[in-house]
Amino acid sequence: MYAPFLRQGRRRGLVLALSLLVGGSLMTACGSSGEPAATTQAGQSPASSAGTAGGLIAIITPSHDNPFFKAEADAAKAKAEELGYETSVASHDDDPNKQSELIDAAISRSAKAIILDNAGADASIGPVRKATDAGVPVFLIDREINATGIAKAQIVSNNSQGAQLAAQAFVEAMGSKGNYVELVGKESDTNASVRSKGFADVISQYPDMKSVARESANWDQQEAFTKMETIIQKNRDIQGVIAGNDTMALGAVAALKAAGLLDKVVVVGFDGSPDAIAAIKAGEMHATALQPAALAATSAVEQADEFIKTGKVSKDEKQSIDCELVTKDNADEFGVFARK
């Protein structure tokens, strides 16, 4: 499809383009492994830092353009620095290859521990084992891997419980009956199906709740908006929308508002993002299930600290943190993915 650049420079153009591409990817690789996004305490070189502070804790998460991961990384960083560690924060952008490079970098810098929100349940097993074998303990947050006994801890929020919590509030607000739309997350993502199943577990108990549409909007606000507008064209008789994340719920809110339906429709989301909490306060959304991202991150750092100091972990590897329901009644009690 991208033929034009071949046209202009002919063969030499192609060689140049390819070498640029290769060079570019090498450069990003060096950039990310050699110099993590936000190393604190400039002036301390990695080699000498191990002796001076409590050592290095590497925090690796998906892209910070999602406020959830930013909140998680910020919380872990703050806790680690409070406990006297040096930190390096980096993002793998959900690229298993980049994640592997970042873990290599952490190993070569003799990190004391890695706090990881991983880039894939299967693809991350190898890199986590590599770090563990090299003597760097890995504490997983937010997402599990499909193996146990390698990571020191896997602390995830209880998506199933959260989804059931949200669905329960949804059913109650709808008076246990009516037509509803479900917006599902990216269907290749485990969390999308776990949440959808959690919704179904509760809603299926109420025979008067009728699903009129179930669409994936890929976690995306604009896509949720567009699909919701189209669904409204098909059927205006809708009393509720339940979405796999808040971003999609807010997209649905915008579409319902434009169609003049918002005051008749109950909208429930998932995640507890600051924007959703603002919408709940404004009466545009009914509820959301807040994932305590900050709590999981600080807990992981505390357990890492314990392991570094004692060589042991006192908790089970698999830990789940319950989600909390946010409604208009308690919206003021919550901050960025955490209780205030």
Binding site: M1, Y2, A3, P4, F5, R7, Q8, G9, G13, L16, A17, L20, L21, H64, D65, N66, P67, K70, E187, A213, R214, E215, S216, N218, D220, Q221, Q222, F225, T226, K227, E229, T230, I231, I232, Q233, K234, N235, T247, L250, G251, A254, K257, A258, P274, D275, A278, A279
Partner: protein
């Protein structure tokens, strides 16, 4: 669009037979010219049969509103593709423009004297388009002055513009762009949700922009220069076309168009996310290609591009109305794009044969140089 007859001809065919062949092929050509319309008609018929709620006036308006966003980007992309280039940065410009709007509507901290400026909405719109045009200008300069291949230059700017959007917003979404009556910056929402004369604003924007681009291409010297540059850059340069200026201007226009699309999206949602518009460049390219433009440049029309955008948009919305699984939606979209390009290849083969035949049939006329 049918300016291919000036291509050099190597074949020698008997004049009478060639004339007949040319006539026959030109009929086939008409069918091919209409293929995007035919595809659109087929889509509409199929979806109307399968669902009652497809062919209704409100749904057609809603779908056209969805089409408008892609069409606005695709019109800019058309100009770049006519030049023989490509603009991969438009999706990121969509995000950047929304973020800049969010930042400006939330108050522009002037730094000195603790002053926070709240520019009125029209200023915000102009500034956002300016930002899009600026990214386009960088694209243009990279391509013309530094001879970076368009694919690479705009790929680079795809990341730069997205990075800027994330930096400005610090990764967060601007949640409320409604403005404050006291500050006199309300009305941004009208761009997405206003309905002058019964149609959403975005549809009017699409119509106006299409008219402007069509006039530009068919009635202005710039249009002739653009087709000439895309058809044969060297020949255009030798006949006095300011190809550098033409090449730079198309990227500027493309950037501004993408910025408009970003504003529409931010206005519809009354919130702006830095991730908005990811992969939109591909939808725009697809619309242009389905509309019969050649990626090698010099061939393509506004009408075709609009129909291409309608094909993609109606297909997507129709499949949602039918409740087809998301995975099938993606697959079907890909198949339609490939089919369109395959048809295009067939048309090009026919055209070359037709051109060869008619060139032999007609007595050759001396080439007319471009006049300025």
């Amino acid at each position: 669009m049918t300016s291919t007859s000036s291509r050099p001809v190597a074949e020698t065919v008997q004049p009478e037979r060639a004339a007949a062949t040319a006539r026959r092929l030109s009929l086939l050509n008409v069918a091919f010219e209409l293929r995007a319309f035919i595809a659109l008609a087929v889509l509409i018929v199929v979806f109307s049969v399968l669902s009652d709620s497809f062919l209704t006036v409100p749904n057609l308006i809603t779908m056209t509103k969805h089409v408008a966003i892609n069409a606005v980007i695709a019109l800019g992309m058309l100009l770049v593709i006519l030049k023989g280039g490509i603009d991969l940065s438009v999706g990121s410009i969509v995000g950047l423009s929304g973020v800049v709007a969010g930042e400006l509507l939330g108050g522009l901290n002037l730094g000195f004297a603790d002053l926070i400026a709240y520019p009125p909405v029209w200023v915000v719109i102009v500034l956002c388009m300016g930002v899009g045009a600026l990214v386009g200008l960088v694209n243009g300069i990279l391509v013309t002055r530094f001879k970076v291949a368009p694919f690479i230059a705009t790929l680079g700017m795809l990341y730069v513009a997205r990075g800027l959007a994330l930096l400005i917003s610090n990764g967060a979404t601007y949640p409320n762009l409604a403005g404050d009556p006291e500050l006199g910056n309300t009305g941004f929402g009208l761009l997405g949700s206003g309905r002058p004369l019964g149609l959403p604003t975005s549809i009017w924007i699409m119509i106006a922009l299409a008219a402007v681009v069509a006039l530009l291409l068919t009635k202005s010297p710039f249009g002739r220069w653009l087709y000439a540059t895309g058809g044969n850059e060297r020949a255009a340069e030798l006949s006095g076309v300011p190809i550098r200026r033409v090449k730079t201007v198309v990227y500027v226009i493309s950037g501004a168009c993408a910025a408009i699309a970003g504003l529409i999206i931010a206005s519809e949602l009354t919130s702006a996310a830095p991730q908005a518009g990811e992969t939109y460049e591909l939808n725009a390219i697809a619309a242009v290609v389905i509309g019969g433009a050649a990626l090698s440049g010099g061939r393509g029309t506004v009408r075709g591009t609009l129909v291409g955008a309608f094909v993609i948009g109606f297909l997507a919305d129709g499949l949602v109305i039918l409740g087809v699984s998301t995975f099938w939606q993606i697959l079907i979209k890909g198949a339609v794009i490939i089919l369109a390009v395959m048809l295009d290849q067939g048309q090009q083969r026919l055209k070359r044969r037709g051109a060869a035949a008619s060139a032999v049939a007609a007595t050759r006329q001396p080439d007319r140089p471009h006049q300025q």
